[in-house]
């Protein structure tokens, strides 16, 4: 074989690769899988926002007002909508993983149903949260 001969000669050869990510049509469970990781990573840095809010409250009225105004601004609210969606999406995705951890829900129909359920629930719950938040203010 050509590869084996070249390898023995000590040269690197282009080996045939198995089909890679980009050749597959994105499926909902693939998208939910990577979204779980992306939202997790986003929350990792989003935790800084929550810490900042707590630290501002502990710092005193003036600095707290400054941070409150910043987070209440249009851009601030946009970031917080993203933060809350990431949190809810990661939580709902986590529940899906807990179900899988029990050994259930591995047939394709259930995988598809739970994957679509994750995105529908996360968007729906985020919208509901903000509607309630705006309504009570």
């Amino acid at each position: 074989m050509a590869e084996a001969k070249s390898a023995r000669a000590g040269t690197r050869v282009e080996r045939p690769l198995s089909p890679h990510l980009q050749v597959y049509r994105p499926l909902v469970n693939m998208v939910m899988s990577i979204l779980h990781r992306i939202t997790g990573a986003a929350l990792y840095f989003g935790a800084l926002l929550f810490a900042w809010w707590l630290i501002a409250a502990a710092s005193g009225p003036d600095y707290f007002r400054f941070v409150n105004d910043l987070m209440g601004s249009l851009l601030g609210r946009l970031v917080l909508v993203g933060f809350s969606w990431a949190l809810i999406h990661h939580a709902v995705g986590g529940i899906r993983h807990f179900i899988w951890d029990t050994g259930r829900g591995y047939d394709l129909k259930t995988v598809d149903l739970m994957s679509w359920g994750t995105i529908v629930l996360s968007v729906g719950l985020t919208a509901a949260l903000w509607l309630v938040a705006v309504a009570v203010k």
């Binding site: 990781r37 997790g40 990573a41 929350l43 990792y44 935790a47 800084l48 929550f50 810490a51 809010w53 707590l54 630290i55 409250a57 502990a58 005193g60 009225p61 707290f64 007002r65 409150n68 209440g72 809350s84 949190l87 939580a91 986590g94 529940i95 993983h97 807990f98 951890d101 949260l129 309630v132 938040a133 009570v136 203010k137």
Partner: protein, 132 residues
């Protein structure tokens, strides 16, 4: 060397490199699940607290955090979330960073970051709870 006498699932080279079993098999997996369950329950409380305090003035927030019913769920979530975050980011780093130097540096940074954010948040809550 006879393969039959070596019953361990570890080659002598792995043994020398100290890459054998660290007797922690499912530890990472289990802690990620435990903190995940804790986060799920605690985050529901904390989201409720944050929404009810959103936009409130300093005096209101300060008074709210004097109550252990408010500060305790926040403190518990901070601890649980930082452990969860550290384990999750560790997996991401190990998946994508293959050069030994940067990998070890990032794993250390990951630990420092989560402990720093956790400690700062905890200190802020304690100051609000016990401060004058």
């Amino acid at each position: 060397m006879s393969a039959n006498t070596n019953t361990r699932m570890r080659t002598p080279l792995k043994n020398v490199r100290r890459l054998g079993s660290a007797k922690e098999g499912a530890d990472h997996f289990w802690k990620q699940r435990m903190t995940g369950v804790a986060n799920l329950v605690l985050a529901i409380f904390v989201v409720f607290i944050v929404v009810s305090l959103a936009g409130a003035d300093h005096a209101t927030v300060k008074a709210a955090l004097k109550s252990p019913l408010v500060s305790l769920p926040i403190l518990l979530l901070v601890v649980s979330a930082m452990i969860h975050m550290r384990l999750g980011m560790q997996t991401i780093i190990e998946d994508y960073v293959h050069n030994e130097g940067p990998k070890i540096a990032l794993l250390m940074l990951n630990t420092f970051f989560t402990i720093a954010v956790g400690a700062a948040s905890t200190l802020a809550v304690l100051k609000l709870t016990f401060g004058g």
